[in-house]
């Protein structure tokens, strides 16, 4: 209250706090400004130019027109959407089931299992991609094992068949990220009130019923959060497909993602930084849309 008074002493105090406050946030602001805001604004400006390397000229909305008629862009976009529409639900369900199993107090060695499931997500992206590539080559360990146990009699050409290449990417990112999401569920499961579950059990609700009608609804905010972060992560998918396909996004562009296409436009093809910047804004718009959906869903719940 004194701060809003008209006395000089109060005004001085306010200025004192103002100056110090700004001094405290200045380093952070400076860093955010130069490392975040400047590149964002500068890439927005870049996106209205087009050309070869440094020979850029102003094209206005020309890049958007090109985007609309670029079949490779649409392939990349649909691949990206296929990846998150199929992969995210699989991963979320798997993570939920695993978290629920690990949360069972009767389970022994749960710490060991928890570590084992979480471990993939602290491995290097490139290292595991290269490992997957060797495991899933035509005469790799996966094909050999499956043929040895009689699951199939012909080796699957994981990396050279458009369909199986997509499957492989989905397997790879699921392996890498399931444990990460599971940890979120496990943490919130441990915060849930056990008495609710116990009450239901005493009332004779079977285990699957308690899982679907008690646990899952109580975890809804976390599920929402992990779904959105996973979707955003999948939208930016780059490292895995780059390493698995040596940067080509092949076979037949079947694993080309938006991020990989941006990389190709900048580094493999005749460099067109303007068009690549336009494409990166497509990802920004998609991420913004999905984040908006998240806020919308959360607000509706309350």
């Amino acid at each position: 209250m004194a701060m809003t008074g008209s006395g000089t002493r109060a005004g001085g105090l306010r200025r004192y706090y103002d100056v110090n406050g700004w001094l405290f946030v200045a380093p952070a602001l400076l860093l955010i400004g130069t490392l975040m805001l400047y590149p964002i604004v500068s890439s927005l400006m870049l996106s209205v130019y087009s050309g070869r390397g440094m020979m850029m000229r102003f094209v206005g909305a020309g890049n958007l027109v090109r985007l609309y008629s670029d079949p490779v862009f649409w392939t990349a976009l649909s691949n990206t959407i296929v990846f998150f529409v199929i992969q995210v639900p699989i991963m979320i369900v798997l993570a939920l089931v695993m978290a629920n199993a690990l949360n069972d107090p009767r389970l022994r060695f749960s710490g060991l299992f928890r570590t084992a499931i979480f471990l993939p997500c602290i491995t290097s992206l490139v290292a595991y991609s290269i490992l997957f590539k060797s495991m899933f080559s035509v005469d790799g360990i996966v094909n050999r094992t499956m043929m040895a146990i009689g699951v199939m009699d012909q080796p699957i050409s994981w990396l050279t068949d458009p369909f199986w290449a997509k499957v492989l990417v989905i397997i790879a990112i699921t392996w890498r990220w399931t444990g990460y999401n599971m940890i979120f569920y496990l943490a919130s499961l441990q915060n849930l009130d056990r008495s609710v579950d116990e009450a239901a059990r005493i009332d004779g609700v079977p285990a699957w019923g308690r899982f679907f009608f008690l646990t899952v609804p109580m975890l809804k905010p976390v599920i929402l959060f992990t779904t959105i972060t996973s979707t955003i992560g999948t939208l930016q998918l780059f490292d895995e497909v780059y390493s698995l396909t040596e940067g080509t996004g092949g076979p037949s562009n079947a694993t080309l993602t938006l991020s990989l296409y941006i990389y190709n436009l900048t580094f493999r093809f005749m460099p067109n930084f303007g068009y690549a910047a336009t494409l990166s804004y497509v990802i920004v718009v998609l991420v913004a849309l999905l984040s908006f959906l998240q806020f919308y869903a959360v607000r509706e719940r309350r």
Partner: protein, 422 residues
């Protein structure tokens, strides 16, 4: 986006550090060089540096070994951002990409015409580094191609070395079927996500993705059509052991899984590294397309040295390249015998090393053969969009295998390419 941003930042930080370190020595000149193959161009450049330092003790060399994709990425980032302090003095660029860099970053590379006598080099190498009458690089190795085959497997299937001389691709496929029937080995291997094979066959048919003026020429391109149809036939006949990447590709023929491979001469060193296979290999000219103008010779890859215009040691770097790569014939004999590098300096071909027979290849005069074939490689205009066209071709080749008519496939490639190369 986040991911890319962070990679970009890391890269910039790394480049900035490299720049600081490069700026340190003042007059005892150190020339920094970027290249990519430790057994090939890196080792060769170290050898070249040692030779120059002997006569110019004040000049030392720092040969930096990156992966090829990293060299290109760093070069492109530094040129685009204008942080020239991060750049080396000399960089190796693959021939397919030369015009792309020269045209899209004008002024970034130092012209060398007038300082180097280009008349001594294979003309196609000089042409691909010329923009508006100025020549910008020092021609290095050629990627003249050959058919490397396993004598032992072919013999088991009943074929003698002369049965592989001057054959057509159709005959190659027939032989391949027989080899698989008799030995159980696939005839060859191929990276199906890589356009290398298309480029080899296409250039041997005196064609390219572009015409002589650099304009897109995909529709009605007999050489490209032949290249695609040949590959589709090979895939359908089951001759190819598919490779998922470069390492997988190399493993297929070095481990004895396939009976032959068609590729550039620079693979010789890798093949000869398998000492236990000595005497089991042979070389032959590559098979030919059945179209007018086609020959038994082609090219895959090959690269050249470029001096950055921003380099503080520009004059010394040019002098170094000129002294060693344009004049030192003994150097070329050494890199040929030790590294299998077929240079593009014509005078080097008369040296003794080119006449030697190689017991590893069953006594074939390997180098003489390659240098004969080099003279027959059709000169084409590589243009500036090789990677874009490669992508379009590898994306559409599977449709041809599945039975889509070849003209429709060419049209699909053309349509995708047209949008990519604006």
């Amino acid at each position: 986006m986040d991911n890319l941003t962070w990679r970009g930042l890391g890269l910039r930080a790394a480049l900035a550090c490299a720049g600081l370190m490069a700026a340190a020595p003042a007059f005892a000149a150190e020339i920094t060089i970027w290249c990519w193959d430790p057994n090939f161009n890196v080792a060769i450049m170290r050898e070249a540096g040692q030779r120059y330092t002997k006569t110019h003790p004040d000049v030392t060399f720092n040969v930096v070994d990156f992966a090829k994709a990293d060299v290109e990425q760093k070069l492109q980032t530094a040129l685009a951002s204008g942080t020239t302090s991060a750049l080396p003095d000399i960089v190796l660029i693959e021939d397919y990409g030369a015009q792309k860099y020269l045209q899209s970053f004008p002024g970034a590379f130092a012209p060398m015409s007038g300082k180097v006598d280009y008349k001594g080099f294979a003309p196609y190498k000089v042409e691909l580094m010329t923009v508006d009458g100025k020549v910008y690089g020092m021609p290095f190795d050629s990627g003249v191609t050959g058919l490397f085959y396993r004598r032992d497997y072919l013999e088991q299937a009943g074929f003698k070395p002369q049965d592989l001389q001057d054959i057509t691709w159709d005959r190659y496929i027939e032989i391949g079927k027989a080899v698989e029937a008799k030995t159980g080995k696939k005839m060859t291997t191929q990276e199906l996500n890589n356009g290398g094979m298309t480029r080899i066959i296409m250039q041997s048919g005196n064609g390219w993705y572009f015409d002589k003026k650099g304009k897109l020429a995909v529709n009605d391109n007999a050489a490209l059509k032949g290249a695609l149809e040949t590959q589709a036939k090979m895939i359908k006949a089951g001759l190819i052991k598919p490779a998922t990447g470069w390492n997988d590709y190399v493993k297929a023929f070095t481990s004895g899984d396939v009976a032959s491979v068609v590729t550039g001469v620079w693979i010789t060193g890798t093949i000869k590294a398998q000492a236990d296979q000595a005497g089991k290999w042979g070389i032959a000219p590559i098979p030919k397309l059945d179209i007018p103008g086609a020959v038994h010779a082609s090219n895959l890859g090959g690269s050249s040295w470029y001096v950055l215009a921003s380099s503080k040691q520009k004059e010394k770097a040019i002098d170094f390249l000129n002294e060693v790569y344009a004049k030192d014939l003994d150097f070329y004999q050494k890199i040929l015998t030790e590294r299998g590098a077929v240079g593009s300096l014509m005078a080097a071909r008369t040296g003794a090393a080119y006449q030697q027979a190689d017991a590893f290849f069953g006594g074939d005069k390997v180098w003489q053969n390659f240098s004969d074939w080099l003279g027959k490689v059709p000169a084409v205009n590589y243009g500036i969009f090789t990677n874009e066209l490669d992508t379009a071709v590898t994306a559409n080749l599977p449709a041809l295998v599945d039975g889509k008519p070849v003209d429709a496939v060419l049209k699909a490639i053309n349509d995708q390419a047209e949008l990519q190369i604006q």
